[in-house]
Symmetry: C2
Subunit: 465 residues, 2 copies
Amino acid sequence: LNKNIPRVRRRTTLILLIIISFSLSSIFSKDRDKYIGITKEIVRSALTKQNGYEWLRELCEIGPRLSGSQNSFKAISWAEEKMEELGFDVWLQPVMVPHWVRGEKEEAVISESEFFEGRNLEILALGRSVGTGKDGITAPVIKINDFDELEAKKEELKGKIVFFNRSIDPAIVNTFQGYTDSVVYRLRGAIEAAKYGSVGILITSLTTKYDNVPHTGAMRDYVDSLPKIPAAALGYLDADFLNDALKKDPTLKVKMKLNCKTLPDTLSYNVIADLKGTEKPDEIIIVSGHLDSWDAGVGAHDDGGGCIQSLEVLDLFKRLSIKPKRTIRCIFYINEENGSKGGIEYAAYVDTTKEKHIAAIETDQGVFTPEGFNVTADSSTLIKMQSWLPILEYAGINWIKKGFSGSDISKIKNIPALIGFVPDDQRYFDLHHSNNDVFEEVNPREMELGTAAIAALAYLLSEEP
Amino acid sequence: LNKNIPRVRRRTTLILLIIISFSLSSIFSKDRDKYIGITKEIVRSALTKQNGYEWLRELCEIGPRLSGSQNSFKAISWAEEKMEELGFDVWLQPVMVPHWVRGEKEEAVISESEFFEGRNLEILALGRSVGTGKDGITAPVIKINDFDELEAKKEELKGKIVFFNRSIDPAIVNTFQGYTDSVVYRLRGAIEAAKYGSVGILITSLTTKYDNVPHTGAMRDYVDSLPKIPAAALGYLDADFLNDALKKDPTLKVKMKLNCKTLPDTLSYNVIADLKGTEKPDEIIIVSGHLDSWDAGVGAHDDGGGCIQSLEVLDLFKRLSIKPKRTIRCIFYINEENGSKGGIEYAAYVDTTKEKHIAAIETDQGVFTPEGFNVTADSSTLIKMQSWLPILEYAGINWIKKGFSGSDISKIKNIPALIGFVPDDQRYFDLHHSNNDVFEEVNPREMELGTAAIAALAYLLSEEP
């Protein structure tokens, strides 16, 4: 070994290698060839038939599916019928969901400025925002880069619209990391700005695409002790424009009018289909996505695609006559986007049922070419799953790592493994929560290869001790 | 260790682990942190500035760049000027290239049939095909699945158009593998069919996208002792249609008219730019793509993108003031698509120059999200390169394997390492050699992350002993 490595590190390396060799050894088990054979069959059927891609087309034709909307109920009915038509037992689990409506399209314009008066700005209200009233609000704008600057300038905020000009840092390779670093201004910007008397906020859209399509997304609950101020996202190019305009004319005023409001909570449903296990029907492996979407685009990647992949996992088993030992349960959660009520409701069910939940897979990062799986589990479970990589690589899986699994399944307590499907993430935030998230942006091979990868993992989870 | 593993396999595993540990050990070298720091800088600059993406837009605006065409010369001039503007020494290496022209758009129609008469078929002549003459050819069509069937039915082929109905098998995960399995009918179909008196061939486009856009590509040289018969690719949907039509009416006739021909060879150029090494200027690391494209689409992915990535590698070094020890040489080969004369000419130069070629990287699989590098080298070189993975993973590289590097660099003899950049391949054959290969199909983050990965590897190659 290289002399530059200190002794301790060498010992660590050796232990690591022993662990790796143990984990590799299990791939030589007698079932390995059988598992590889079945994985290849799954891949062949998914890529050749592309059934799920066609179902996603049908789902997207319904339109956007915001919780509580007419379309969301159409989508629930469509899902129920599709699952029954495919021959699965379906359960509509009731759940009360928030019902926020956008109303007429929002507007923003530079209403007072020597240079820019009359210039429209492309905006989209943030989900859960209050409206502005029919006269809108008109106020000067102050650009703020982060909460430290907000605090430093707190004396200057009264009566103003705070413009949080912070998109996703393009230099961060993992776009989910970049998103996580910046989403806090969408989540809490209106609450923080209200503390200092601001009358509204604008944020730069969280996007990796430099067009003018605004991206919405949820805000945190307003705080009752503070004024509830309206919040909207600017298209990236108009955010850039406003940034420059403020340099030339710091006194410009913007008028914005949002017509959104929150209606009383509505009864809605998680849609759940089971493929019963042959040996351990009460042991459950979940495959899942969320059926609701934002009301911009049609939620093709977020998360119609994840739902359909989950459903096609069941259908792949059925059409290939693969009989899993444990029950494979497909869940379309409702309301991931603005409340997570579906995930919370299902997790509450897990606490009370006699069924034993073994593992839950969530797909909510788009339906791009598969890369790996993020796992929340103890080390021995993780190592066991990593020993399946020589099988899963036939479905394009490169790695299995510890990591965040997914928003809906993370509500479930007392389950050995929570697993997030991770596809290529470079294009996801081009589309996310915007009019760019349309069916045409889904590539059937990418989607179906992902479906096959999830199906192969679900199969291994259902068979292994 | 698992008792099921025979002793020999256990020993092999142990040896393997020792090799891996040696290779891992080199990542602890004192330069590792420096290399990671520089890789991060490269990634940040590529993803933030996206210069290459804008240059690709300019290149694509010229239009398609088939060898010998006016556009190909415009592209050569554009490249020369861009390289000079960026501050590099430029060399136009002269090379004679074939000059095939399509002429007026080709036509095909079902000219005789009780059911389908008058139905047009969407076709594109294969590159290097002869034309049909101005009256076209009219003949019955026989569908053939493979060369075995061709041989079996050789008595039935005289006077007919052979329809090779074999696209890429969608079940094969690696689309390049699927393409390689089926491309032989495009390459040799017209030669094999001519042996038995066929008057022309149609092939189903080699595609993973089920639209009606035909995909062209090169044929092998005709054999002088056989008749030279015309060859064209059908759009996938029309191939499907023709397949079904032949079942209903096996006697239908197709008229096809191709206006293509081969003109005398033309003088053209490889375009070459150097960033001189500070310590070993005569040791060369190549980064490269091919500047010519087919005349359908604009060759955005194939291979305008690969050229621009190679050029931006040099510019990244320059704009980040990274001084490589060895010379980094960017080559835009001409004529990869229908003759490989550019690659052959450069390889001939390598044989005569006093410069020492250390490694050559080729990028010609599209500009999608990076996955890894294929390497042709001896085992110790490969293991050394694999020890760089903990650095290259900062630029999205998952693996380095033995494998085919690329068509142009494969002509170079006596070079320690030939390296092919491998991005996600699921979408490449949707576009390849067709009107689908346009600038709009390039995602800037995918492209620039690939550029950064290639730059990081070129840097390591230039620094390491």
